[in-house]
Symmetry: C2
Subunit: 385 residues, 2 copies
């Protein structure tokens, strides 16, 4: 096991009818800015419920945070806060809204050009406005971590920052708030959470027995409920377990003490940037291909994954690895999420452009052993055709 | 899944050679009181290592905190702090030292008789001195939770308190610090951690899929490493996984959203009080007997436990349940921890006195359904003869 630090101060409030607890969680005298995404927060009544829970507090709203939140949009929120002096932020939405709120929280008091926050990946962040979240879309884990992804439209840059200053003070996770989500977003959430866990698990054996068992438990849970969350949208227990699995999948716990990969995400980011494919859908393409191409480096963990997650115990090692990768692919496909570039009309001739983008962004030595060179990334993309 | 709150602000620093990090974790100007137990902290050199890491800070020591820490001893530390004005506490030891430090931290500024803290189970605690810990004995999870057990010699009362004010600010978990422990204490730690997990898992199915998988993962890990931590005392990975499993076994995570039992602990406490049997050793007697007596109420979970933890898939339901309970008993015995009262010279005629103590302490409706009456506790003790 590797040495590690683990420190996660986010207060989770989980369950049905918990939005009303905002009244105890947000300081009484706070001037609150609610940040949200599209129209659904209003249409579903969540925004009204949030406002009602906040009672007599001064409450302002900032809507329109996009999927893949943009620096340009978020800086408008920063200007608004600097002008109006709100002192508490409340993100109402999914990972994009929470990620965006983290950037806003760090940028408001930042001395210098706030884009530096992204360029330094958070190293220059010295503080942030306090904020909480009401999660409506389980997927990214942003509700219980200190990371954020922000894009700059002007330069097409998509960067990650993290800082201990941007853990949410609290996050309210009410599974009933996910009942009205479009099923494609729910399916994306399952794939996103599954892949987060795999990035922290599918590396090489490092004697993190607890971490491996926890990761496998999350994967098994996602497999167990994956179809049910789509076929029974108001099945509380299925949605609750998806929500909790997604949060636990990327809150630092299962990564503590073990190696991490993240090459699937890095390659996937370029597919989103160049071809506009939803984040989770890029992962469904890249992850199985990545396991195929790197099967030797990942042999030990692939066999463990085959045995423990998919209960594959028959046949040779090669057969079990093949079967585990095939099961992964079939699982994603069963959720209606394609796993081939050709499903998006992308062919071999377009791989070069993706590789050029990886090179331009310095993504030339990815993975748990930094051995995913551009040549390896090319083979992964070819395996995903 | 049940609604829950989860909020654990303890900063974990895990790994070999991490004691030196005290210098960054303890405030520079702090006046520090180190609290510890017996002589081993000094003999092993840990105390000197801690003092060296604290550098130029004002450092005082308070030794002699017993297993099952006593109010009387702890109040001497409280008086010392009130006199000398230390403002940061550092527990160096296992669960007893950390539990004791929690009480001291809450008692120093307490208005009124500090024993009220125990009598109100922490409800009247309004604040506490900040403290950290250096863990030397993996077992209780006290290093990452807000609970504490303190005994009053004068009245033989053993009470539990918890308060969000007594989470450790940080805990340093260095597995190499456990190499020199007596093997009986290590075996006790395995049994203690295993039983903690079982108290939060072996109830009734509540659709906490993630929680169940995590609990099962901890149990599997403890089974996997149980013998190795005894036969190879300086096997780093075995000790590291024991340490992490024990911490994760009682830090609030696996209990969040599911029912809890704790009757094994309550019955065991009386065996410690009356017969002086080590805490963990009482659990090894009571847990298997508890499962036998309550097999109908726990049927669903017993079958799940049999299948997932012990891989028992052959035979009838009754056979699988019998086998799972037998495996649990054999596991404890394999660690050198007896599972029968007769091993301590306790016979049927002494059960009445234990029941009287349970009654005197109000323990008349224990368990996840409050249906462990005194008659049921009697049957459990009889099954443990």
């Amino acid at each position: 096991m590797q040495n590690f630090d683990l420190h996660n101060p986010t207060h989770i409030v989980f369950g049905a009818r918990t939005v009303a607890r905002l009244d105890e969680l947000v300081p009484t005298k706070a001037r609150v800015l609610i940040l949200y995404g599209g129209d659904s927060a209003r249409r579903t009544g969540t925004l009204a419920e949030v406002r009602a829970a906040l009672g007599e507090r001064d409450v302002y709203e900032f809507g329109g945070i996009e999927p893949n939140p943009s620096y340009e949009t978020l800086m408008r929120a920063v200007e608004l806060i600097r002008w109006e002096g709100m002192d508490f932020l409340l993100a109402v939405g999914g990972g994009s809204v929470i990620d965006g709120t983290k950037f806003v929280a760090a940028a408001v008091g930042y001395e210098g050009d706030p884009w530096e926050i992204m360029e330094t990946h958070g190293a220059t962040v010295r503080g942030a406005l306090p904020f909480g979240s009401v999660l409506t879309l389980p997927a990214t884990g942003s509700e219980m971590n200190s990371g954020s992804v922000v894009s700059k439209n002007a330069t097409k840059a998509k960067l990650v920052f993290s800082s201990p200053h941007v853990f949410p003070r609290f996050s309210i996770l009410d599974p009933t708030k996910t009942y009205s989500l479009p099923l494609s977003q729910v399916a994306n959430g399952v794939v996103d959470a599954f892949t987060h866990v795999m990035e922290q698990y599918m590396t090489y054996p490092a004697d993190g027995f607890v971490q491996d068992r926890f990761a496998e438990g999350l994967l098994q849970t996602l497999v167990e409920i994956g179809l049910q969350v789509l076929s029974e949208p108001d099945n509380y227990n299925a949605r609750a377990n998806l929500m909790w699995a997604a949060t636990m999948g990327l809150n630092g716990l299962i990564a503590a003490g073990v190696p991490e990969d993240w090459s699937t995400h890095m390659i996937g980011h370029e597919l989103t940037a160049l071809h506009g494919i939803d984040h989770a859908r890029t992962l469904a393409i890249v992850l199985p291909a990545n396991m195929e191409v790197r099967r030797e480096a990942k042999r030990g963990k692939l066999l463990q994954y085959a045995g423990r997650v998919w209960r594959l115990t028959e046949g040779s090692e090669e057969q079990r690895i093949d079967a585990a990768i095939a099961r992964t692919r079939m699982f994603f496909e069963s959720l209606g999420v394609p796993t081939r570039l050709r499903e998006y009309g992308i062919g071999a001739s377009q791989i070069g452009a993706v590789i050029s983008q990886l090179e331009a962004h310095g993504m030339t030595a990815l993975g748990e052993r930094q051995d995913v060179t551009l040549a390896v990334s090319r083979r992964i993309l070819e395996a995903g055709l």
